[in-house]
Amino acid sequence: MGGVVLSACSSGSKSGSGGSGGSTGTTKTDTKAGGTLTAAEKQTLLEMAGPSNKSFTGKGLTWKIGGAFPFSGPYQYYETIEADGLRLAAQHIPQLGGPTIDLNLQDFGSNSGVDTQKAVDASLNFHDAGNGISISGIQGALGALIPGAEKYKILNLDAGAGVGTFAGKDYYWAMRANYPMNNVTVALDYIKKTQPSARKAVVVYNSGAAYAPVLNACVAATKAAGFTVTGTTTQPIGTTDWSDAYTSIQSQNPDVILLVINGNDCAYFLKQFATSGLKQPVFTFSYSAPQQKLAGAGFEDIYVVQEDFLPATPTNEWQKIFTKYYRQEYKDQPAGPSSPFNISANYYNVGFVLWELASRVLANKGKLTDGTALQSALEDNPTFPSIFAGSGTTPAKITFDKTSHGLASCPLAVMQIKSEKPKLMAVANAQGSSGAGPLKMM
């Protein structure tokens, strides 16, 4: 299957699609696309994120990497947000002396959830294409990619979510903080410092069996932080009208609102929030340019706790380079001070994690198509440079948890949205399943 090679176009074709290159199927890296890095930028990237063992860079090799994203259906814009970060990394790494990266991108649809069949076929495609590793979104395509990853020993990295209900599944790893529990803890730490009188919190999340474990974990994290949980307010994923939720919140009369819902749902909640009669401070854990565009002024004064990344005011050189080339390359995406967004940055970061893994595998005389070797390379030393936080040319670190396969440690930030721009309020490091390091006020 697969086989025909498409070259990614450099002109940022306005085909009405968000991404610049690569249909489903294999995409060979065109070094010209993604912009040509300057010598200084190359130097910086290599220093901050290049492989720790400089003798094994994989130069001259072609590395086939699978990618599963929603190319169709209502959530297809996630494909743009996520895969574009990965594409950019795939275009930069060869310029830095790394392997040529062949992205084998597959669709899993997003009509009424995830098209299970398509997700399953995607993992078979990865197997057929000899992908030892694949990158995915929407939590392992809601689990449908996981049996394939286990069966065919394809290391699967999901950089869009925490491990959620799939913690500890072999070959399935998620490169975010234990989302959203870590984020909730950081938010509560911040509330304790800034609004000491606030003691009661409501957790707003998706209703439904699939989301109950995460909801329960958020409630537990809130209680652990010493707060009273007034209750939970839940609506089905994909809800556009949140008025019933406001009623539920109103009746609970909490001091703060922990808004755990994601994406459009979160944007719609906030869009309607201003006229709901509710006045409590809201902490959300999902903020991006498309959401900002959807909710507009609805985001005013809302707190956001997510990865420490403000594209308008990059704290480190890696972020600067990423932001520069991302904006240059993906012009047709919702722009603004909040673009690119932390998820895109995370998928860019994934590319460099992969490069490090490749270097380790090559040093052990292993093969890049061997998912088991890649997984043990990850387990050998689960700490990697992070694009988030850090300063100058010193990156912060992320560390995977070998048991849960999510991140045990990851830099997070508390931001407040002012005039459609995020303002950094505090930073902290997510630790463990729901803990957080000391909060540093900005």
């Binding site: 009405g16 556009t240 009746s251 309607q272 006229t275």
Partner: protein, 342 residues
């Protein structure tokens, strides 16, 4: 188990959830009346209604953002385009299909399948044209009625909804056009004798039905944003309302039923998790049809040879059909095929 907490049943909450239910129910009502007219009068299982609904919402949003048009003109232009597509599918797809099959009731399923195809295609087309969300602008301000919070947008949409529905109901009830539409609903072939062209009536019905949807879609999208699948559940709810109301009922009856469904959904959050809010409606549909089915079973006949009087295999006609009918067999075949509205 899930730690989902239900909203406690207090007077304030009840008032607020009732208001919410009225808002949601009104958006259901527009689709129910629009879709209901098309299924009941033109007998087209026009499932692509959902896709055209979403398309109109996207068009209106795009017109507002690209050209900076105000809300109302954008709504009108988007609706006109939606109407053209809907009437076009009636002219180019449904009506030729019915002509070929020869009978609008027997053509029901082919029309349903063709409409499913159109629906899939239009939704995918929307996703190609609008890969990223499109925003709408509507100056929203909060309105407080006693303990109940509403917004200028929702109040406007509720008022517009019911004005539109009552207007359509009035047209059908009291105007010449309405009489013609009713005649076509009851018996299209007979209405030809009175100089009514069923095909024109069907197109008018498609136009009115789609316009109602356009209003609903654009208002709904203004509350959040257009999404390619925004009409899907609404059409399923519309099916529920339209069939429970019955073919012969006035648009406002269908509308009120849809409103009731919105209220039931809203109130149901007092008792069960919101996960089940669409289930509640589908269960109503299932129970309604199942009850109808169980009533239709002649249990005496099921047990072989036990004579019993009761409903027969041929359903009695609704009175409108049983009026002076020159051909007993024509009358009977009408009964046999229709099944609607009993």
């Amino acid at each position: 188990m899930a730690a989902e907490v239900l909203t406690p049943l207090t007077t304030t909450n009840f008032a607020q959830l009732t208001a919410n239910g009225v808002v949601t129910g009104s958006s259901y009502a527009l689709v129910a009346v629009g879709f209901g007219m098309i299924i009941h009068i033109a007998h087209r299982f026009h499932i692509a209604y959902a896709a055209i609904y979403a398309l109109m919402a996207f068009l209106a949003a795009q017109i507002q953002t690209t050209y900076g048009w105000p809300f109302v003109p954008a709504l009108i232009v988007a609706t006109v385009i939606g109407v053209i597509i809907a009437v076009g599918s009636e002219r180019l797809v449904y009506s030729p299909l019915v002509r070929r099959v020869g009978d609008r009731d027997r053509a029901l399923f082919p029309v349903f399948v063709a409409s499913l195809g159109l629906s899939t295609a239009i939704e995918a087309l929307i996703n190609i044209i609008w890969p990223n969300p499109v925003t709408t602008t509507f100056g929203v301000s909060a309105i407080k009625l006693g303990p109940v919070h509403m917004t200028s947008l929702t109040v406007t949409s509720v008022i517009t909804t019911w004005v539109a529905i009552l207007l359509v109901a009035a047209v059908i009830r009291w105007t010449k056009l309405g009489r013609m539409i009713r005649a076509v609903r009851v018996n299209p072939s007979l209405s030809v004798d009175f100089g009514i062209k069923p095909s024109s009536m069907y197109m008018i019905v498609f136009a009115i039905g789609t316009s109602l949807g356009g209003i609903g879609a654009v208002f709904l999208a203004a509350q959040s944003a257009p999404e390619s699948d925004m009409g899907e559940n609404l059409v399923l709810y519309a099916i529920t309302a339209a069939f429970i109301a019955g073919a012969a009922s006035s648009p406002w009856v269908i509308g009120v039923l849809a409103l009731a469904m919105g209220l039931i959904q809203s109130w149901s959050t007092f008792f069960i998790s919101s996960t089940w809010s669409s289930f509640v409606i589908f269960a109503i549909l299932l129970i309604f049809v199942m009850t109808k089915a169980i009533r239709a079973v002649n249990w005496g006949r099921l047990a072989r040879g036990r004579p019993k009087y009761g409903s027969g295999l041929v359903k009695p006609a609704e009175p409108a059909l049983a009026q002076p009918s020159p051909e007993p067999s024509a009358q009977e075949s009408q009964q046999r095929e229709s099944g609607v509205g009993q």
